[in-house]
């Protein structure tokens, strides 16, 4: 599987590295949301379960739930995004990472989409 970024249909991505992974939302998602004004993230130590909500992203226009693309324990959260939510619009794949998890079941990565498949289903504008 390697360390390539994987995508969920709920517009989250995970970038695995070793047994951990950075999780964020896609460019498609940030474009749909508009100007992000508030991000609510779980606490370090929280257990995420694949497919369940683990936080919210709020723009002026709407609120969206964040869905865990894989199961795992939160080992770090991105305080920069909490302090400056607009980072999510500017750089959703880099500085806009949301949480780092210790991946509980690496097999779950195979159930996610690769970039080509995700972009085929959700074409970049």
């Amino acid at each position: 599987m390697g360390n390539e970024r994987r995508f969920s249909r709920e517009h989250e991505w995970i970038q695995p590295e070793g047994g951990q992974g950075l999780i964020g939302i896609t460019d498609y998602a940030q474009k749909e949301l508009g100007d992000v004004v508030y991000v609510e993230l779980p606490a370090v130590g929280a257990e995420l379960k694949r497919g369940e909500t683990f936080g919210t992203v709020e723009s002026v226009k709407s609120v969206s739930d964040l869905y865990a693309p894989v199961s795992g324990r939160v080992v770090a959260i991105n305080q920069a995004v909490v302090d400056e939510p607009e980072i999510l619009n500017r750089d959703p794949y880099g500085a806009g990472w949301l949480v780092k998890v210790a991946i509980a079941a690496p097999g779950e990565l195979a159930d996610l989409l690769d970039q080509a498949s995700y972009e085929a289903e959700f074409p970049p504008a």
């Binding site: 508009g34 508030y38 919210t56």
Partner: protein, 362 residues
């Protein structure tokens, strides 16, 4: 048969300018161009241009037109030769709101500008009630409408309008912009000074191009539905489907000053028998999440109302909400709102949240 949203006279121009389009009330309209916050700020600080062609534009012609409107509308109907635009209300016999709208005297005829979502129902009702000698026509598809809003709107339009004297607040004038015949209305839905401009469908794109041609000098921003909503919300202007609806009366909505009590109108007697028990109030959410439409409001553990509109207010930097609460609810009171399952504290505050005379430069 697949349902297709209709293009407005400006959909193609908006698309070419990079708009994110959405379907709204059956039309393809911009949600935003550069972004909601940038457009919202542009209107508060400079000037923004909105496509408002989706609004229904109805014409009433014939000798009985004024009398028909005086019977069916709850507010003042300007005399035929007046230049006064009137915000007005269409009520059902129970005093509930069917629509809120603008009435234009057109030198004998009358024009109504109504909410897009209600246009078909309004047209049917008004047509059914109209006597034979009153012609009711739907001019929406044959015309185009733009809103130019913000402190620099007057200067921009003066630049284009040459010798034409621009109308004062809630007045209407016909004139030429470039070589384009335009109806110029000093009205809007943003809480800023500005205009709503009406022309033919064919002339619409040229009017847009003319405004954009000089717009750079004034910091003009193309603006979409998202900014339109956050702007009107800060000014506490009601939105049909949120603050207004068939079970809401003008007395509850804070619109009593628009009622022409001195003459009969549909819904008048019901309003007299139906004193309000709730009123529209403002709320400041004290936490970081916003209360959104539908959120339940509690006092002492009892549900006492619901949020009708709520969002982070860009100009004011606060999470604010509107909702109907018991009449005695007053600014300063602390209540609780359920935001996605969490009980969050809120404070009742006075509305409007934003007043341009008071809050400019915020």
């Amino acid at each position: 048969m697949m349902y297709m949203a209709k293009e407005t006279p400006f959909t193609a121009l908006a698309r070419a300018a990079g708009a994110k389009l959405t379907e709204y009330a059956g039309y393809l309209l911009p949600v935003w161009f550069s972004g909601q916050l940038a457009e919202h700020r542009a209107v508060r600080e400079r000037v923004g241009l909105f496509d408002v062609s989706h609004m229904g534009r109805l014409r009433f012609a014939g000798v009985g037109a004024g009398s028909l409107l005086e019977r069916l509308l709850a507010g003042a109907v300007p005399p035929p030769t007046s230049d006064r635009v009137r915000y007005n209300l269409l009520l059902n016999p129970s005093g509930g709101l069917l629509d809120d709208l603008l009435v234009y005297p057109l030198g004998g005829d009358y024009g109504l500008v109504v909410n897009a979502a209600n246009a078909a129902a309004d047209l049917k009702y008004l047509r059914d009630e109209a006597p034979a000698e009153v012609m009711v026509s739907d001019e929406t598809e044959a015309t185009a409408a733009l809103a130019l809003q913000g402190p620099a709107a007057v200067a921009l339009l003066r630049d284009l309008a040459g010798d034409l004297t621009l109308p004062g607040t809630y007045r209407y004038a016909r004139g030429q912009i470039g070589a384009i015949p335009v109806g110029i209305s000093r009205t809007g839905y943003t809480g800023e000074d500005g205009f709503e401009l009406y022309t033919t469908r064919a002339d619409g794109p040229r009017l847009w191009e003319e405004i954009r041609r000089v717009g750079g000098k004034y910091g003009l921003a193309l603006a979409g539905l998202a900014a339109r909503d956050s702007l009107r919300f800060e000014a506490a202007l009601p939105l049909y489907g949120h603050e207004l609806g068939p079970t809401v009366t003008p007395l509850e909505a804070g619109l009593e000053r628009f009622l022409a009590w001195e003459r009969p109108f549909v819904g008048r007697e019901a309003l007299l028998r139906r004193p309000p028990e709730v009123g529209l109030r403002g709320l400041r959410v004290l936490g970081r999440a916003s209360a959104r439409s539908g959120a339940v409001i509690y006092q002492g553990g009892q549900a006492i109302g619901r949020v009708t509109s709520g969002m982070p207010a860009p100009t004011l930097g606060e999470n604010l909400a509107l909702g109907y609460l018991p009449l005695e609810t007053a600014p300063g009171e602390r209540l609780v709102v359920d935001i996605r399952g969490r009980q969050e504290p809120v404070e009742v505050i006075s509305i409007p949240f934003y007043r341009r005379e008071r809050d400019h430069g915020k």
